[in-house]
Symmetry: C2
Subunit: 405 residues, 2 copies
């Protein structure tokens, strides 16, 4: 059990102590070239890969055919990010309708329970369902602010979305199987083995273990913001692990197992480990719990000229696995802070809240920053330097410079 109780306080890792203070000020990542080469998917309309040609091209930044980011201003101010604007991060190709077949016949097997069973989606829909709002966020969101040469999509803020999921609580599924194996330590979710796609199952399987406790709020989701879960987002069923990074929300879900040990596939063992620059290995913490984080969405250079006078500074704040408690906003790069107010309904602790601060700005340049707290934890000033640029929640890099005229 020790491993699962490991405190994931990302702000205070030991390996950080030497590097954090050396971290640079607001990094200016270079402009990322559009790259839709090497696509497993045909190119679709509007310059988007074919499998997401239904998305809004104007809302998106294309890093590659598997890494497509939402513009800072395009997550929307209505709390929930519209599906058409939600980012894409795929390790494996999105399955097609013909590979999936009849959606209600899709199978998910449950193991590590008293009575292991395989359910069709149709059967899962009879086990009771609910709706939750959670934040889906790529482990590498914010990677674009790092200054060392870090491999992967150079996400700034837009590998994140707040989504309503509808599906069956894992609890209800487990109950229908007589309960969890007592000596299990992890909940391990596996994507389908990709037989239908012709890919090598050993290489193509995304399998992720999270601490067993996660199951109590987790869900097998078949609907996303009111529509059947799109293939591009892991349809017909995906795992939802509230408060945990995107990779744990396994797509095209084929199996949920309560296990004594972590999965040994690449995506668990070596990838998604938060290690110091220059080091790697499975001894480093996995991308599990998301830390407290916030960023400003308006005004930015994307939202047009800012005229002097009253200005509404707006953004989103998340608490990770705890409810976000407060947000402070600075207009002078962190020299002084004012408390912002939360606006709109509270969708639960796993959703983000929108914050707003009204202020008056005269002509000039400003650095706007936000700093969220969930009570025990608050955003650090600087990023936690790490090899792959994971879990960035430093407020300084996420600030925006604006010119008021």
């Amino acid at each position: 059990m020790k491993k699962t109780k490991q405190k994931l306080n990302l702000n205070r890792r030991n390996f950080l102590s030497g590097t954090a203070t050396l971290a640079g000020l607001a990094a200016t990542a270079s402009i990322v070239p559009i790259n839709i080469s090497n696509a497993n998917h045909k190119e679709g309309s509007k310059g988007l890969p074919g499998f997401i040609s239904w998305k809004d091209r104007n809302a998106l930044i294309i890093h590659s055919d598997k890494g497509i980011e939402t513009h800072r201003s395009a997550i929307g101010e209505s709390l929930i990010t519209p599906n058409r604007n939600v980012y894409i991060r795929n390790n494996m190709p999105t399955m097609t309708d013909s590979q999936i077949g009849n959606r209600n016949d899709w199978k998910v097997s449950i193991e590590g329970v008293k009575n292991p069973k395989t359910f069709s989606l149709g059967q899962l829909k009879k086990l009771g369902h609910t709706t939750i709002a959670t934040i889906l966020q790529c482990s590498g969101n914010g990677r674009g602010f790092f200054e060392h040469k870090v491999r992967g999509s150079q996400w700034k803020t837009g590998a994140a979305a707040c989504v309503f999921w509808t599906g069956v609580p894992v609890k209800a599924v487990v109950d229908a199987c007589g309960g969890i194996d007592r000596d299990s330590v992890f909940m391990t979710s596996a994507g389908v083995d990709h037989k239908p796609t012709g890919l090598d199952p050993k290489k193509a399987m995304v399998e992720r273990s999270v601490p067993k406790k996660v199951y109590s709020d987790a869900m097998l989701a078949w609907e996303m913001n009111g529509v059947p879960l799109p293939n591009a987002h892991g349809g017909p069923v995906r795992m939802i692990t509230p408060g945990y990074f995107g990779i744990n929300n396994v797509k095209h879900l084929g199996k949920v197992a309560f296990t004594k040990t972590e999965s040994t596939v690449k995506y668990m063992k070596s990838s998604y480990r938060i290690s110091p620059i220059g080091k790697k290995g499975s001894q480093y913490p996995s991308c599990w719990e998301m830390p407290v984080k916030s960023w400003i969405t308006r005004p930015t250079d994307e939202t047009g000229t800012v005229k002097s006078g009253k200005v509404q500074i707006v953004g989103v704040a998340m608490g990770g696995t705890r409810k976000v408690k407060s947000v402070k906003v600075s207009i002078d790069g962190g020299k002084s802070w004012k408390r912002a107010k939360f606006i709109g309904p509270d969708l639960g602790k796993y959703a983000w809240r929108q914050f707003a601060l009204e202020t008056t700005l005269s002509a000039g340049t400003y650095n706007l920053a936000s700093l969220a707290s969930n009570g025990p934890d608050k955003q650090p000033e600087l990023r936690m330097e790490n090899r792959r640029g994971y879990a960035h929640n430093g407020w300084k890099d996420h600030s925006v410079n604006i010119t008021v005229v």
Copy 2:
């Protein structure tokens, strides 16, 4: 003030007493022909009118080019109805981008306040904003269940949606104008006068008065479910009157006035009046407050074969201007009832809640009904007969017959 205090208890109108008991059992409205003739808009792709060619054809029932309904099963189970599935009911043609011009330059004038002012949308965005979830519902939703020959789209359940709106509270706008005229009785909202469309302003203006008190929760909205308010839904700005029927949520908003008398335009004076069959006139109540209502969304004949065993009965329930308190579900046409549970987050009193009842059904036929209460009011069994088929909240007509195999 007397008029505004008139109690709109739609269940107990006097003119009803003679007819309600005569109302038929579950009406079987005839199949509505698809009709996209006489369109002011070019026909778009997928058989949808051009101005909503971005919508999901499969989610929609086309009554006419101005009346497009959401399938019972397509409002989604994630609380919020996706924009692509939201119904359309237009009295006037949707304005085009070129008629609207620069969205931030759109003007809304505020009258009947201490300091009347005209704001651009850009200025409104600086007055502070928030997000609310409300139900948008056409006054005629449920008209398709009436048995007398009633003019208008034969809506069943799908002229309704639950939507996140983002905009500025009317309160904040009024504060910026020094407050409301003390002797005003109504808040009167007018659509743009349609000069840009070349239509006769006298005929083309939608102007609606509601009791002044409505302003305290009302909003001028520029965003719908996270995207700029689509033209088809009244962009760039519309009035949102929470708890009040759709018609009061005036599109392409040009003016908000606090007035002593009701507007005298057709859409206020003679249309949208709830009058006995065969009678009409402005002495009858206007379509203002929505009554408590619910309906089942799954299972229905749209959602596929129902197999015997455990069945989840799911639907939506709204309280009107009060919070919905409880929902009961019947599987035997109202002979017996069981209390359903609410699922998913509570988005506030003006949003609907999703309810679910788990039951076990053997092979046979069932009539599934739901009955919501907001405390003081509950759904009546029968519809309130009225000339234009407005405000239907009788539970019997809204029930569904299913066959379990």
